[in-house]
Amino acid sequence: MQALTNKAQAVNRKPMTFWERLYLINIIKGMMITFSHMFKKQPTIRYPEEKREFSPVFRGLHVLNRDEEGRERCTACGLCAVACPAEAITMEAAERVEGEENLYREEKYAAKYEINMLRCIFCGLCEDACPKDAIYLSETFAPANFTRKGFIYGKPDLLIPNPKTEAGAFAEAKGVEA
């Protein structure tokens, strides 16, 4: 029969020699291998003290962005919800009234903006769909929760801190631009 790949190897059917049948030497060889592993570097990351670094293109929890003056960028156009393959995003739009110019950048804004983190597949299509650079995925992931309700993230969970009032927190939440 012709072999499909060149990976096949003939089985060695030679009878074992006396020393091989004695087994002792092979045991000692094996023990030397395990002994050498005592001095190998452990790949373990001791989690709470040490954390694995995420790559800069990691797609984690969503962040609703603000502009430089601390105004929300989102205009509730709904393109992210349309783009979302998991249908995790829902929103309700509202019209900006007089005196809210320092809160919202455009005349229309998202009064309610919810992402169900149990549905979300962290594909990042919402990020791509957004014309206003209002949503992007950060470098953290959703922490555990006791109820399903806890995984529906509203605006207070998603909004980035105000760069005017909390510049440090803003920079931390913003992370490294990929």
């Binding site: 045991i27 094996g30 023990m31 291998i33 395990t34 002994f35 592993h37 005592m38 190998k40 570097k41 452990q42 790949p43 373990t44 001791r46």
Partner: protein, 347 residues
Amino acid sequence: MTILALDWALVIEKLIMIAIIVFASLGIALYTTFAERKVAAILQDRPGPSRAGPFGLLQPLADGLKLIMKEEIIPNAANKWLFILGPGLAMTASLMTCAVIPWGSAIDIFGRHVELQIADVNIGILYVFAVVSMGVYGIMIGGWASNNKFSLMSALRAASQAISYELAMGLALIALLMTTGSLSLKTIVEQQVQGSWWNIVYQPLGFLIFFITAMAECNRTPFDLPEAENELNFGYHQEYSSMKLGFYLFAEYINMIMSSAIMASMYFGGYDLPFFNEASVAPNIAAMIGVGTLLIKIVLFIFLFMWIRWTIPRFRYDQLMGLGWKTLIPLALFNMLLTGAVILAKL
């Protein structure tokens, strides 16, 4: 008033010694479980238990506390008396072995000459054999009383394994006893202290056989068929919980310590520190150095046990029996004949 004729100081001395040795072996067994996990981890490139205390040193205490706090469950179908007797017997048998092990030469304390051995009986090694055979009853009774087919099967395996390997162990020992001419462990050790060589030099094959059979007697991998997690769930202690399970697990580790101590005493000079003249320091200090030496030898043997455990896979049952009956026993007989021939030639 005949009772007062007893040497009460001797009784108290022995009682204190028994207490020290029993608690020390329990403590060492506690930390052997920790060492086992740590050695396993390091051999597999893992850090091992490291959360409880510095370097995880409090881990055995946490484990012990957990075992004690767990609910005691006795299955309805189990034979209650035997179910409780099993772990007790296993523990007693493994602790009784330490009675004849010479832990050191002798110290002078409060004007008394104290031998660092609980009982220097002239049939020491025979006593060890008798007690070790008792250990099988603990496993057998536990497996039988659980009324569980896996436990029973595992108990049967343990019993047949112990019986097959005890034979080879005894035969390997006979060759050693032919050279020493004494059954007393103290005498055997003293001969090695005074003589220029340890017994391992005269009995390398005997030691190999003894070591393999000792591993089988302790139910250690590669001879851990009675436990065989993947075929018998958990073996003879499957139905056990809480401290009764703890006793079984501890008994295994104490067995390991005791067989290490016996191997060190019989083949590796016991408390004899090589290239060291005991007469050059005070007798008490020399005795303490001897105790330390024996402990180091025990620790090295325990490490060897663990090292082997985490290297070699388990034997198949027929391989186990084949090795015991078809290889070790003929080899031990051959070793015995050879030793006898050499002794005859020397006469």
